[in-house]
Structures are given as structure tokens and as C-alpha cells.
Subunit: 353 residues, 3 copies
Amino acid sequence: MSFIRDCWYCAGWSAGFGQALETRRMLGEDLVLFRGEDGRLRALEDTCPHRFLPLSMGRLVGNTVQCGYHGMTFDGSGACVRVPGQTNVPASARVRSYPVEERSGIVWVWMGDPARADTAKIFDLPEMHDPAWAMHHGDALDIRANYMAVAENLCDPAHVSFVHPTTLGNAASEDVPVETRREQGPTGEVIVTWRWIRDGEPIGFFKRFGGFTGHVDRWHYYYMHCPNIAAIDFGSAPTEAALPEGERNRGVRIWALHFLTPVDADRTVDYWMHIRNAATDVAGVEEQMDAMFRTAFDEDKEILEAVQARETALAARPGGAPRPLRIAIDLGPNLYRKAIDRLAAAEAAAGPG
Amino acid sequence: MSFIRDCWYCAGWSAGFGQALETRRMLGEDLVLFRGEDGRLRALEDTCPHRFLPLSMGRLVGNTVQCGYHGMTFDGSGACVRVPGQTNVPASARVRSYPVEERSGIVWVWMGDPARADTAKIFDLPEMHDPAWAMHHGDALDIRANYMAVAENLCDPAHVSFVHPTTLGNAASEDVPVETRREQGPTGEVIVTWRWIRDGEPIGFFKRFGGFTGHVDRWHYYYMHCPNIAAIDFGSAPTEAALPEGERNRGVRIWALHFLTPVDADRTVDYWMHIRNAATDVAGVEEQMDAMFRTAFDEDKEILEAVQARETALAARPGGAPRPLRIAIDLGPNLYRKAIDRLAAAEAAAGPG
Amino acid sequence: MSFIRDCWYCAGWSAGFGQALETRRMLGEDLVLFRGEDGRLRALEDTCPHRFLPLSMGRLVGNTVQCGYHGMTFDGSGACVRVPGQTNVPASARVRSYPVEERSGIVWVWMGDPARADTAKIFDLPEMHDPAWAMHHGDALDIRANYMAVAENLCDPAHVSFVHPTTLGNAASEDVPVETRREQGPTGEVIVTWRWIRDGEPIGFFKRFGGFTGHVDRWHYYYMHCPNIAAIDFGSAPTEAALPEGERNRGVRIWALHFLTPVDADRTVDYWMHIRNAATDVAGVEEQMDAMFRTAFDEDKEILEAVQARETALAARPGGAPRPLRIAIDLGPNLYRKAIDRLAAAEAAAGPG
């Protein structure tokens, strides 16, 4: 397993970065992020090249960071600008810097070759800029599981019936098959998995936020932007409206966004937020939605961590882990794995940059 | 070190298994046990073959268990009986099932080849069925030590003088040699180690439960049924009775049973219970005995875990652990190790089944 | 990385050893130390050769230690003097014993070949025996870092400006270069690193204990007695006194002693104490100094542990840890590393003894 490095990864929300040293571990690397006195956000390798103390244990000085051991100081490009006790600064005294961009209140870090960083590849959704929709930055979920297992869960509308029976799923959908297709998006390949559950009891989420009383048609569209972003379009409309696929905006519709950032091989942070076309100006609704999302995502976390732990235990047995059984709903996850293989091969061919 | 698999291992007391999913890790394998609505106990591998979620995180449905991730459902034979979202069930969709038997309120699981499971090899003791004796199911002791070290401690009457000075031993026995013999029992080889401490102060246990005031003759017979069961016959009688070996029932006599179940190479559960010929109908005596046994067995646990930790540390040193010194009392443990070697060789010759 | 074994290592203060079994892990070995009923201190390998139970879990019997499992008993030479249950004692029944010496209230253990133990090599300082000076045994600091990293920190007066800004350093010294020399002491090679900060604000320590109000000349001399002892001479005098280097006793002067004892490759205990020429008979001053030293040494501990953790993480990356950048202040640490290499090579040539 290797990470896809030539990619923008979410490091949190803009509001979370003030004039302070923040740390993130991403793709097995330790970063220190800081907003300088000029307001600009910078990201450096969080290791002083002298004694390897994390720079985040030092202090922010203007637009630079000063090491807490011997005072070596680095600017946002990673260049050393001061070595106390000597007048010359060795040319080799520098740390790696990472391209950082902020868009729609989201902080993105390019983890690959800086020369290949392309801001056109930053994730965007028209609804983020549409005044008819409300956007709310949610929270971060720390999951002790490999990012691909987390991503596969986001190519898999079938799990909601069993994992989220009180919030995002219910028994009505247990036996409804999942449809799957691939498409090309601006940031690369997208795996789409979806299904409509027609004429059923509304799920907990829409009972609460849609005000539905009778039966509804409900949809779940999972757009997995490989390798790291899931945009989930889900919603409901009264069954009597007989809503066609293309007119989902007439129903109560929500985009739940998941930005996956691998921490290590067995740990992933899922930064999640939402955009909605209903109750856009109702006070308190965002906190209530966050609470319901938290309930549901904690259910995912419990499942994913248990799977990771069991896989690790099985792999340690003589002979290793067995091959997993594949069933009909696995088409999306299978396509995702293949897409990752292609991305990894392309990166290997491109070289480290 | 390998486990002896063709053997019935204790998984607990019958009373501990209701209509719920219970987990046990035994011999490095994870099991889910459940009593179906028909009252019968079943044991399956605790891993869904699809995504490897522990089945124990799902739910009991009648006589089957339903996975908590995508609803795949398995019966007690390990066969899959439902895959939500599709009508066919792949023939390869099954999990391993384990033979389970209940006898005298004890749950036994056969960990080896099911074709070789033989209920005639389940441990039994005539006193379990004798109305003159009282049987009491005790508790489980979780020990961070290899099962062989725990078993050796149960071929070793000498340790009680130093490890259990207030309960099961005292200074009177410090220098009394231990006798040792091998015999063949219905479940296989038995290592017997024993000694009589004649004309001495009673130990704490019999001061409390035997009502002795003067000197007693005391015996400890440890019957180690290889590989996993120790039946310890210990008791006392007034010294003036001059009790011969064959008439121990005339004294106050207790069978302390230890059913050892390896969890992993460095962890063992000791399910312990007792049968006694005295105070058979005194209210509260079983709780009092449990309390005294707990004191003593916690002393064993402390010693065994310290030994395991030290062995592990020594093995990590360059050159590895030294050879342990052997002294006179080690004859029983030595015979036990050889018996285990023979069992392991026999299993290797028989193949995995 | 290997330890230097032919060396006296501190195991604590004499006052800390009564008639009880004390444990120490030193250079990857587990020791039990005990003061016998004759008042003499003994050090043995803390492992019974029979079942490997730590002897420290047994009990002190006169001048011997009795194992808590089967009662095997060992004297201070490591010889077994009793095996309960048998009359003969096998000649091979013995544990390793370590030479122990007590000097000036400090307990020293020789970890190498006992035949090479030379009490003339025990660390001493004339001020320890001078009535004009007060000696105070401090405490022990447990640091999760390799002893060489701890020692390098004690060849490095430059770090105090950034790590200890409120106690042992301040901004006045940030850019003052460090001087370095090697000398030969009675226990071996000594790396000396030092600097004078002339005409500056007094540091917190001397504001508190020197009563200075105006500018001072301040010195820090770090004498690193390879491999394991740092004697730090630091002090201050009013700038108008224009104190020459050789007359430091006219100022307020303190020897802070650090006796480093490696526990394992990634853990070190720093036993620290001090000797002072000021406030020698002021009540409570030692507790106040201890408190200030604790503040400062906890700052070192935080830095050293973070460096160790980061080094370990870097070493685990593909390609391993990068080469650390070297700057001007690293001359002392570099000389220390070379001295350790020479000591290790000499020991390898001398053989295990």
C-alpha cells in the first residue's frame, strides 16, 4: 500500500488556523502549519534539520518559525534565515515546504512534487457558491483505518441500512440493489454508486429535517473523487411527486462532503461538511445536523476500526489474511481499488519529481 | 510453541451464555458463541468473510447471526443463508464452525479438526455427579502468560509454600519433597505430582473451612490432564486419624479444577471451579471459598505474569534467554513438557484434518 | 549503538537504600539492590536462574535474597545457598553479582567485567569535601531518550537561551559563541564547552539565589566526563568586579552534577545534585533550588523526548533518517560522539572479560 501524493489533501478549515503553530500528520509526514503576521498560511516539514526537534515546539516569529532548541529560524519557503551563535547560514539549512491553498474556507495541502501542484485540481462544487444553498463546515473524524477502507465505505450506499438504521438508512432499503458507473471529473476519475428507494418510510435524518410525514422517494448518490473525496448527494421527496432523477433540487437535498486525509497506513482523518438546499436560514439547524452526522459517522468509525483491527490480526496469522468474499454491492469498491492502482502506477512512472 | 488443537477447551459456564453474541479468543482464533432461540449453543469464527467485520458486532436473528456491516447472515453450521441486495448466495460464503458441548454446566469447544471431535474425551470426574459432594462453578482468571507456564505451575505443589503462605501453603511444607508419576486417563496422559505434609499446622484454607484446631496431615495431589486441565485434590485430616492415602474421603477434601484455555501465545484464561465433600449445604460457604481462591490465584497470576515478562525480556537480549536451571521439584513440569511435545508431534503427523 | 560497560554508573543516593529490595534497570539489565542486615549494599542480577522470576519479588533474608516462587536463596556474591526440597545445591545455581561502591552518599555500580572494576575511577570533585561548600543530593529524572542525546545536551551551553529562558538562560546569551576543548581527567576524557556572557541581565536562577540587582558577568562551564557524567560549573559576579576566569570562587558559583545511567537504548535516568559556595547555611534554599532545577530539567526532558521520538519516526521511514545538519555549537557534541566511539572500540578490543 502506498499513498497517492500528487493530490490536494484537506488539512482542516481556514477558521482553525490563527497565528499559532498547528501540526498535522499527513501521508506519514509531519507538518507544521502557521498563519504569518501577513495572514498567509504556510506549511513546512515539522522537523528542524539540526537536532530533529519538531519546529512546532518552537515559536512563531513574524512570518517565520523559530526552533525551540537552538533558535534556528525558517521562513515559509523552508529557507533558514538565522542560526544563533554564528553569522553565516549554511545553504543546506532548509526544510521542505508544501504548497497550501485556501478555497471556500477549506485548507488544501499539496503532498506531492510542488512542481506538479495545480490549483485547477482543487475540489469544487457549484452549490458551494450558490446563494440558494447553505454551506456548513463540520468537523474532523479520526479513524484508525486505512484510507482505502474508508473510501470504499463511501462507494457503498448499501451499508447504511445496517450501519445507520436510525439516521441515514432503514430497513426499507435492505434489499434494493446498488447501481454503479465511472465518470471523469475535473480532478480525475469519479466512481458513482447510487440507488433510489421508492415509496418508503423516510429515514431519521429527513423525518427530522424534511418534515415528511408520509412515504417518500429517497436517493443516495455517492460520488467518489479518487483518491480522497466523497461528495454524497442524498435527499427525499414525497412519493406522490414522482421526482425524476434530474430534478432532485425540487426535493430536500444535501451534499455531504468527506475529505479523506491519510495520516498513516492505518489511520485516516475524515474532514466532513455539508451543503443543503433546505432550512438554509433556520437557526440551530446546522448544530442539529452535525449532531446527527456525528451519530452516523461514529457508527462508521466503529465498523471501520473493527475491520482494520481484524484485518491486521488476520494478516499476522500464518498464511496471512484470507481473500475477502466479493458480493454484488462491491462493484464500486472494486472500481475504486483499480483507480487507485492506476494513480499509483502513474505516479511511479512520473518519478518523485 | 504451538497449540494442541485436537482438544476440548473450556469457554466458560453454561449459565454465562444466553441469547446474545459472546466472544472468545482461543488458540489465537476469534470465536463468536450464541445460544439460538432453540436453546442450543453455537460457535462460529467471529469474522464475516466479506469485509472481515467481527460477526459479534452484528445481531442474533433466531438461530443465526447477521453481520452488522451489510447484513450477511450465517447459521450455526457456518453457512450463509442471506446476502441482502442479491438473490443468490455464493457457495463460498461460509465461516468456520466449531463443535460445542455442554456437560455439568461447563461449555467445551473443540478447536481441532471437527471430524476428530470425540465427546468421550470431554473431562469428567465422578464426584461431579455424586450427591455427597457439592459442585460450584467459580470464575475465570485472565493471565498474561503462556499456557504451558500456567500448566507447569499446576504440576508443582512446591510453590504453594512460597507463593500462597496465607491460603494454600505454609512454612511447614517448605522442605517436603514432591513425588511424581505418569498415568493414563480417559482424555490422555496425566502427570501426577503430590506430597503429604504430616503433623503440621493447618493451612489458612482449612483453618477457615475445616474447623481444625490441632495439627493435621495435609495432602496435595495435582493431576495434570495434558494439555489443559488440572484437577487438584487437596485436603486435611487430624494427625491422630493417621489417614492412609486411599481414604482421603474421610478427611475434608476439595477438588479444585482448572480448565486452561490459551488465548494467544502469551495469554491464558484459567476457568476454575471446585467440588467439595464438606460444608456441602452451608449457606455462603461458596462465596467465601471463591474469595480465598481469588486471593491465592491472584498470587499465581502475579508470579506467572512476572515470569512471562522476564522471559520475553531475556529472549530479546543478544544471545537470547539462558537455559533455565532445573531442580528436584521440576520433574513434573519436565514430564508435562515432554507430553506436550508428543501431542504436538502426533498432531503434526495427523495433518490439519 | 552500544553501551560503555566498563564504567561506574550511579544507581541513586545511599539514603535511598534501606533493608529492602530495590530494582534498577541499567544498560538493558535488571538489577536488584539490597542492604543486608550488616549494612552493606549488594547488587545482583534480578532474575532467578530457575524460573526467571525477578528476585526483587521475593524477600530479603539477612544478607541474602529469597526467590518468591520456590524459595531459592542467593547471597551477595550471587551464589545459591539454599534450594528448598533438596539438600544439595547445584554448583551452576548462581546469579551475576555487580561491584557496588558508596562515595559521598552516591551509589555506584560497575556494569562491566568485575575484574576490571577500579575504585580509583569513581567520580570525585574536591568541592564535595570542602567545608566552605554545601552539597545537596537532588533527584532523578527519567528521560525517554538515548543517553548520548542526553549527554550531548550537556556538551551544549547554547541551548539554555532557548530551552530555559526563565531559569538558566536568557536572551542576552543567544548569540554568544561557545568555546570547546578536550582534556584528560582521572576517570578519562573530558569534553569542556563554555562561554562567558559579560555585562548582561542576571538569569532567573541568580536573581533568586545571588541577590544580584545590576548587570553581571555570567559563566557556564560544562565538563562532560565521558561517557556518563556532566559537572556543570555556572555562576555570576557583578560586572564591575571584572572577574577573571581563574577566580570564579569569588562569585556565586554552583556545580550542578548529572550522573547519566542508560536504562535502555531509548531511556536514561539523570541523577542530579549540586554543590554551591553561596547560601550554604540558609534554611530551605536547597528545596527552592531543587524546584528551580526541576523546572529547567523538565524543559530538557520535554525537548530530548521529542527529539528521540522524532528520530525514531524518521528512522522508520523508507531511506531512514536524514543526516543531521551540523552548526558551530556542535563541536562539543561531535567530540563527545568520537570519544564514545573510542571507548566502545577499546572495550570491543578488550573482550567481554
